[in-house]
Structure formats: C-alpha cells, structure tokens
Amino acid sequence: MKLLAVETSTEACSAALIIDGVVSERFELAPKEHTRLILPMIDELMSAAGLKPQQLDALAFSCGPGSFTGVRIATAVIQGIALGADLPIVPVSTLAAIAQDFFDKNNDKPLRESLKIAPTNCNLAFTAMDARMGEIFWGVYQRNEQGFAELIGKESVTTAVDVEFPDLIGAGVGSGWGVYHDELMARLAGRVSYCEIDNLPRAGAIAILGAQGFKQGLAVTVEQAMPVYLRDKVAKKESER
C-alpha cells in the first residue's frame, strides 16, 4: 500500500508518503509559502522512494477545516495529481490529523511519563483550531482499538462557550485552546486536566488516516474530493441585506 498525503491548512506545510505502514514526511512551518514548497516536497519524497505517481495506490489530503485558501491548495494539488495519475482520493479531516498526532505522540509511555500526563487523558482529544471571527473549529476524537482517531459526534464551527461534547475525560488539543483556554475549561467543567496548544496538522497523520480510510473503502473520485469549510455562509445575498 503506497499513499501520498498533503497538508496545507494552517501556517504549516507538509507532505508525506506512507509505504506499507512506514511514513516519511517533509514538514515546514512556513506561513504563505505553501505554493512555493508543496510540490518540491512531494517531488523529493517521490524521488527518494523511486516512485512515479502512477505507482501509488491512492492520495490523501487534509480537506479542512482550516484556512480556506490553504485547504483549497491541498485540494487542488491532490486533484491535479489524481487527474494526472488516475488515482482515488481519501479526504481526511484536519482536526482528525491533529488528534491522531496527539494520540501517537502521547501513547509513547516514556514521553507521557516525562510530561506527567495521566493515561486516561491520552485517548480522547477535545480538538479545537482557532477559526478567527471569535469562533473555533471543534471536534472530539477518540483513539480506537487499532490506534486510529475516530470522531465522536460531529465537527462544527462554534464559539468556545457553545461547544458540544460527550461526557468523557480527555485532553484539550490544538490552537483553539490557546485562544479560548478559560472559556473551554469552564464549558468542559473538569473533563480536561491537560492541554496542548501548539499542535499543527501534519501530512504524516493525514497519510496514516488516509491509508486506513483507503482500507475501509472511503476513497472517492476527483470530482468528490472537496474541501470541508464548516463555515459555509461567507456572504449575504442582496435579498438578505
């Protein structure tokens, strides 16, 4: 199983290749540099693996939520490659990728112990990305038995004080926790005792989730591989003014 993944939905830019479960990744923190970096990253990864796009089994991309332009860059890169090499595409949530990365990192026992995180906190992520305009992109992810991030309920764009959540204990993960820490802590009332705010989505996690999604038959055609903005109302019609 060979899959190429791209992630450009925040100020980070990354590409990853997963070949039979082994991930190689290029990652850079580079605001507004995605268009300069992403194809060279992909080209390097593919050359290093000695692969042509036609030899891949599938593609994956972070379909959002995130910066609208950033999410469209990932979508358009993957659509272009899919058109060119006739490949299926697995869209992967940006929030799922953030949660997956958190699970993978913190289920490493020595690291967890050095950070003094209780194990109960490492299998559930209340994931929040800053969505600007006073809102966050919100999703609650659980680590399933196979180790993959699985969504509980629905993702949403919401104010911090209105987030919906299951009655479970977990960790607060993502940039949204940096901006709305107090509001979220108050709303989740004791369910969160550990927070990480520097988590950026990475193509490595997109690749892991993409490969799993591909096995589960979640791949779609190029026409169906679309961004998920969550914020769908972006302008008022004349009739609504």
Partner: protein, 338 residues
Amino acid sequence: MYVLGIETSCDETAVAIYHSEQGLINHNLHSQVDMHSEYGGVVPELASRDHIRKLAPLIKQLMQESRLSSADINGIAYTAGPGLMGALLVGATTARSLAWAWKIPAVAVHHMEGHLLAPMLEENPPEFPFVALLISGGHTLLIQVKGIGRYQLLGESLDDAAGEAFDKTAKMLGLGYPGGPKLSALAEHGTPQIKFPRPMTDRPGLDFSFSGLKTFTLNTFNASKKTEQDQADIAAGFQQAVAETLSIKCKRALQQTGLKRLVVAGGVSANKQIRAALTEMTAKEQAQIYFPRLEFCTDNGAMIAYAGCQRLMAGQQQGLEIFARPRWPISELSQTTD
C-alpha cells in the same frame, strides 16, 4: 504541440486545448455569473469555492471530448494573474500539480496577454506589430504589441475600468448586476438628449478616466423624471460617450505609433456600439480592425492555451513553484525595452 490551458482568474472556470499547428482543438467553460448576481457582484471567496468544484470535472470532460490521452498533452498553461488571489490559486495549483503528475512543462500566463492574443485564434489573425485596446471589467489598456511578449503600455484607465463603469452605471440606473449588457440593451431604445462628457479627450495623452462620466450620468439621472424613456436615453448617452472616448484614444494611438492594425479584446469588446464606433474610425484611418469571436471576448481557456503554447514553444516554463500574482502589470512581461 498540444497545450492544455486553464483560466480561473475571476468568475469563469475555463479550459481549452490548443495545438501549435492544428489550432484550437476544444474548449469548455463554466460561468459563475448567475451565482454572483444574487450578491450584487463577485464575491471572491465564493468564486474560489466554485472554481474548485468545477475545474477538475471540466478538465476530465475536455480530455474525453477531445479524444486525447494524457500522453498526447505536451504542456499546461495557466493564468497566473492578474485576478483574484484565491481564484487564481485554484487554477494555478491544479495546473501545476497535473503537469507534475504528467511530467510535462507548465507555464504561467498573464491574463491580459491571453486577451490581447485572442484574435490570433481567428481565421484571419493580425500580423505584428499592432495596437491593442483591452477593455474588460477590470482593465482598460492601450498597448503597442511588437510581438509575443513585447508589449509597451501606451495608456490605461486612471480610475474605473470601462466594464466597471458600465456595471456601476447600470447599478445606479437600477439595472442590477452584472448590468453592463443590460445597459447596452436598454441604450438601443434611447437617444442621447444631452451631450455627455468625453473624459480626457481635450488634452493630449492616451490615458482614460471613467469615474467622472459615471458621476455625470448619475446626476443626469437624478435630475430627470426617471421614466423608462429617461433611463434609456441616459443609457444611450453614457454608452455613446464611452464608445466615442475609446474611439478618439485609439485613433490617437494609431497615429502616434504609425501603425495600421488595431486589435480590440476583453469582455467589453462584445459591446455592439463600441465595435461599430471603432470599426468606423479604423475605416476612416485606413487601418484594419480585429476582434476575437464573441465567446472569446470574455474570459476563456482558449486564449490561455494559445498564449501558453507560444511561450512554451519559445522555451519558457515554470519550476515547481505554483505561481499566482493577483497584481501583475503587463509592462513587466516585456523582456526588451525597444
């Protein structure tokens, strides 16, 4: 050489395939005009969202209809600017990534170069050098064209573009968006009752200004009884003023450069009265006039495929960087200063 052209700079998603010897093979387009009209103008974020929905299916369909396989395509040309950043990025990113997957060169095309070369797609194309008048919703430019990539800016609008002046005036007259074509249709039922100004024609130079004319039109309309006939008469007066102003400046440009060929392109070049005024002027000047066919006056993929093909044949191509430049003066395209 087969070249796939991709255009997403504003509110049309357009694709085409051009062959260096056989000419235009096929083209396809999706217009967003109906969607934006509900908002009274182009909403950039919605334009980007629609481009990404439509572009990949359009490319797929174009390839199937053209009975070409991926191995036949030798290069990809994409509009890199000027235009809306988010919209440009969809076309540029898809194009550059597709070219990477196909292992073929990609070239970034200037949108206005596409427009000014659009008459080259016709049976009887102009020879170089010529004067080009580019009139659209975003631009009003007079350019001396010495060859592909050899452009000298002669004049431009200092405020509103010609098409913008049409749309804004139409809005003031209560004609909705995009009102330019509606204003022209209405003008056919009117006769100018007073003389509208011909901006910047009483002084030397080849620059334009349409915002004063727009204000004059508004004042005239407000001072009228605002009947349907008043509306039509005012639309006629406005349109005649624009047509004559363009005509005076083009005549000046031909005289100043000593050239005898005028190319007129861009969305506003579909306007009948403007075409008539310019045709009459060139006949008097014993010059030739060239227009693209109506469907290639507005944004299209064919002009991008054509311009890109010329640049690819001249050995130009872009690296792996996805190139998009919302503000890109056409004068920067010229490598020579002659």
